[in-house]
Point group: C2
Chain length 379, copies 2
């Protein structure tokens, strides 16, 4: 529990009394759900907004990250007087299961006291949401005012809409998709192979080394390469050109060597290395797998056949808003439009807007004033 001057925020961990039943048919136990809240729940318990985080995100929305000390990842959006206004709303963000910031994941202790490692069950986006539903139940909230999520966070919001449609009043999905495309899967597979090819991965059993040398643990090289490959997909070609072009890094001429001559090389190397300080490689495997498995239409098909996407939203009455970015090639506008058509076909109120921003997929995390207006207006 901690207060900052500007924002009332609390840290909690919920230990679930029951195992969590999973899409795979397996169950997860023990289950802990680490979450952060901002603002205060009102007496009617009707002012709560659940924000769902992305692949490498966490619950530290608007307060400093405990490992890196950096500002929360959505500090620009969540706070008093900001688009998600903590003077009005009680904002909840929980670390997804499978992750590594306090919720149960492969680095957590299993019932035998040793880390799960690859004994952790493969989870789905819907399983992540099951944990969130349990948390919302625990908080005594019947109906969330709204759900908000970008990228994988948007997938969670879509899963809420398909499976728990009466538990929220509005849903905002940013830069997301209702299924992972072949190209999306391909990029994730490259990252997983990079991690699993690293001899330090050791079949996932690298945690015991932490005792001897906590500074350097696990398949850091493989995880850094995975992050570098993924990072390219988060930016647009245009954005990379504007930000880096072919400019050299701290030198006048090419070195005719393999140092990071170009700024873009230096930037990517930094992104890769800094990521390994805050993220667990096995969590990266599990969460990317959950994303690859995500296909909302398939999930709601009958008799083993994929359904059409509208069927997934059959029970939905809540307002939904979808936002895409014109330079996002990871989850392009066409995918958001497809979702909007499906929600509309299901008879729920839906709006859709494509925003123009040069930052590619990462636009939902960056300074895009038009996005702030959409968020504030919708909520």
């Amino acid at each position: 529990m901690a207060d900052t001057a500007a924002i009332h925020t609390e840290s909690h961990v919920l230990a679930m009394a029951q195992p969590l039943l999973l899409d795979s048919g397996r169950s997860l136990a023990p289950v802990e759900i680490a979450y952060q809240t901002y603002g205060r729940l009102n007496a009617a318990k009707d002012n709560a907004i659940l924000v769902c985080h992305a692949l490498t995100g966490d619950q530290h929305l608007a307060s400093p990250h405990p490992k890196t000390g950096k500002p929360g990842w959505w500090q620009r959006v969540v706070g008093p007087g900001l688009p998600i206004d903590t003077d009005r709303f009680f904002v909840i963000c929980s670390n997804v299961i499978g992750s590594c910031m306090g919720s149960s994941g492969p680095s957590s202790a299993a019932e035998d006291g040793a880390p799960f490692a690859m004994r952790f069950p493969v989870i789905t986006i819907r399983d992540m949401v099951r944990a969130q539903v349990a948390l919302v139940d625990h908080l005594g909230i019947d109906r969330l005012h709204a759900l908000v999520g970008g990228s994988m966070g948007g997938m969670q919001v879509l899963s809420w809409a398909a499976n728990w449609p009466d538990r929220f009043g509005a849903a905002l999905v940013l830069a997301s998709a209702a299924r992972h495309s072949a190209q999306n899967i391909a990029f994730h597979e490259v990252g997983r192979q990079a991690i699993m090819a690293d001899p330090e991965w050791k079949g996932g059993n690298y945690y015991s080394e932490a005792v001897d040398d906590p500074r350097k643990v696990g398949p850091e090289s493989g995880l850094a390469v995975a992050r570098m490959a993924a990072h390219i997909t988060y930016l647009s070609e245009q954005g990379l050109t504007e930000k880096f072009g072919r400019r050299l890094q701290d030198r006048e001429t090419k070195t005719f060597g393999f140092d990071a001559d170009f700024q873009v090389e230096s930037y990517l190397r930094y992104q890769g290395l800094s990521f390994t300080d805050r993220f667990d490689a096995n969590s990266y495997l599990y969460i990317t797998r959950a994303m690859d498995y995500f296909d909302l239409a398939e999930e709601h098909g009958a008799h083993g056949k994929p359904g059409n996407l509208a069927e997934a939203f059959a029970g939905l009455k809540a307002r939904m808003c979808l936002v895409s970015f014109d330079t996002d090639w990871l989850y392009p506008t066409s995918e958001s439009r497809r979702i909007a058509h499906a929600v509309n076909a299901a008879g729920a109120p839906v709006s859709f807007v494509e925003l123009s921003a040069p930052f590619g997929h990462d636009s939902f995390l960056l300074d895009v004033p038009a996005l702030d207006r959409v968020i504030a207006g919708f909520l």
Copy 2:
């Protein structure tokens, strides 16, 4: 020297008498240039076409690859009665320096008899062309009938056009670029980091192990990951979706594990693994570096300032044709158009066509009948 029933082809290696002076200021010695010819040089020596190969290509255009036994990579295009007709033309293809199919590269013996490894000098696209010019001189050919190249092969053709504009009559550039973009560099850097992060890379000194175990040498895991990442860029999102979609590989349901459940995963893993059988990891480092360094306008700037691209083509009189593919996001149409404008501004005859094909960058290697017509018509 070898004949097949259908096509007259010969294998040669030229050992250069002189060191090759390089853009870096260093020189390379000894220099060997392995090349393959198809068809016969006429008495006037004016029917020669030099085909320049791409990053992971080689001189085995239209005859079986000696390591894999697979058909030549352009067997569809080069042969009697084919678009590059070996009944009319004497077709030459030489392995680029830096590569690993017989021309001098990091796996070749340096003057001390040991492999160059990372002692091999960093080369440029223009250095590759310098070796080709030496080969053409050696063959007694004053003027090539034409130059043809796709992707990195196209970069070589552009470098010929900028630096040896009077040595050929026509130049055909397919799916290429006059400079590497930040995104292009970024993908290559991921591949290089994957290779160099592999402990089996050993600073490039992995060749000696070949004596003990020739089947498993060097940073195979890293090289496979590099190839997987690159392979995604060679295909279009649309092509991946059409070819694989979200179809599962030899199974009815997801396994909730980390096997290659999806066809696209299985395909990428195969691409990665099979590549390591035929390609040298250090060559991959050197050739990707040469491509990243390529910027034809910068190369022809004055006083250390980048020039405009038209200046690079100031001496050009030969006919030039540029072809792009609408689904190629590695070297998009806009880049070919930029080159066409520059050649036109320089006063040389140029034509440009964007072809429609679903295969992305790899379209220049695949069955695109419209491309065959363009090639045959232009030559």
